[in-house]
Symmetry: C2
Subunit: 264 residues, 2 copies
């Protein structure tokens, strides 16, 4: 820490939110965004305008347990008081559960070594009302073993062009997906994704594809063809937003590799 800069600290927030009532993280022309709500709360406790940078632009209805956002703070507020101070201002569906001071040259996007997303699907006739905002309720039975057959084609450094939304406007579709697991737990099917970077709607596109495989509408081998051709029209469903959660952003390579090992 440079002595003269003591009064201008970069603060890293770890943020959980229920995305149900928001138009997503990013500021949008219509609707209330999580980012704008958080930025305005941060400005209230800071007493000055801030420019809030977040890692992931989660979509409308998508949730987070471990979104990360940074800003520069002037003044003397002790960093450990920030979560409680924000708690008093933020709506109850956005919770800053950790605040840390980080070096001024820390960059929350470029310094991230990996991300963990989880998608939860309720595969049963009935979805209890308490869970409806956090799962995709899908009634027809799904074959998890069949889904698992498609996974090897999707893991590794691949061209995920077919698995992103058509209007994403990017030209580089190569990403490294380090692991995907699909696990049945009671009535739920849990999809975990660990990767270095994700394209727009990539997790929801892959999940939707796996569901099409699991219900027998698509062959597991379609994954290989979609990766090879980049042709989205080979695919069907895109999973709806409410089942998706941004679990964690990793900044430590060893933590990330340890997590990868648990996903076997």
């Amino acid at each position: 820490m440079e002595q003269g800069k003591k009064q201008r600290r970069q603060i890293k927030l770890t943020v959980a939110y229920d995305g149900t009532n928001y138009c997503g993280f990013q500021v949008q022309p219509n609707g209330v965004s999580i980012g704008a709500t958080l930025q305005s709360a941060v400005e209230k406790i800071a007493g000055h305008p801030v420019s809030l940078l977040a890692v992931s632009r989660t979509d409308a209805g998508v949730h987070a347990t471990g979104q990360v956002a940074t800003f520069f703070l002037e003044g003397n507020i002790p960093v450990e008081k920030i979560p409680q101070a924000l708690h008093g201002i933020l709506p109850k569906d956005i919770v800053v559960w950790q605040a840390e001071e980080v070096p001024p040259d820390f960059h929350c996007r470029y310094d991230a070594v990996g991300k963990h997303y989880r998608y939860t699907l309720r595969n049963s006739k009935i979805c209890m009302p308490f869970d409806r905002l956090f799962v995709w309720h899908f009634v027809p039975p799904l074959d998890v073993i069949r889904m698992k057959k498609a996974l090897p084609s999707l893991v590794g450094t691949r061209n995920f062009k077919a698995f992103t939304a058509a209007h994403s406007g990017r030209s580089d579709f190569v990403r490294r997906l380090d692991a995907i697991t699909v696990e049945k737990r009671g009535d739920d099917i849990i999809f975990d994704f660990l990767g270095r970077g994700f394209l727009y709607k990539m997790v929801r596109s892959i999940t939707g594809f796996l569901v099409d495989v699991g219900r027998g509408h698509l062959a597991p081998e379609t994954a290989e063809r979609a990766i090879a051709t980049g042709d989205r029209s080979l695919l069907g469903l895109t999973a709806p937003p409410q089942g998706l959660n941004l679990v964690k952003i990793y900044y430590d390579e060893k933590d990330f590799l340890d997590k990868l090992k648990t996903m076997g």
Copy 2:
């Protein structure tokens, strides 16, 4: 089943709901009630007006896993098709997860032998946004052992006048509370109530009292005095609605006694 009455069957529904967006079960002058929403959906699938009777008039914001409601159905809809038919009409925060035909003289209120309510409190600095509508978030640490000391005075056939809302307009305040348990599970404190009948806001009044005991504002012995005098002014907090769930209505004496045994 009488032959000539075959076309007029009494149907018993078991209903779960997230009470957040409703003014309670009962029809109210302002706001949308769960009862009216359910009745209107039932009338749509029945094709005729019905009079829906429910066991518990849960308050605004209170949830249920096992509310029971009955009505008389004309026509030939197979009873096992009713949950799916209602699922297509009801908002996603009300779910009828069981429908059974019951004898015409079955009375969902008078034939109930017991009820199970659960209250969930999150005792930690932070409450994750996904849980906020289903727990009472209470930050100061609570002493569960101290709370447990108040329980013996509250269990049994007692005059619960002090533990009901002042405006309830009743004159008979004697109820039989068969069991209360208070259990710490991680950051949560779970209060389970098993009883034959409950007064208006009785569970929330007892929970609020126990929290006052747990944070040291009231002595455990206050329970005995409140029961003896019926004086509500001895008490403090009433627990807010969102932590409360009507778990189950018991109609079988043996089931109820078995459940009681598990609560030891």
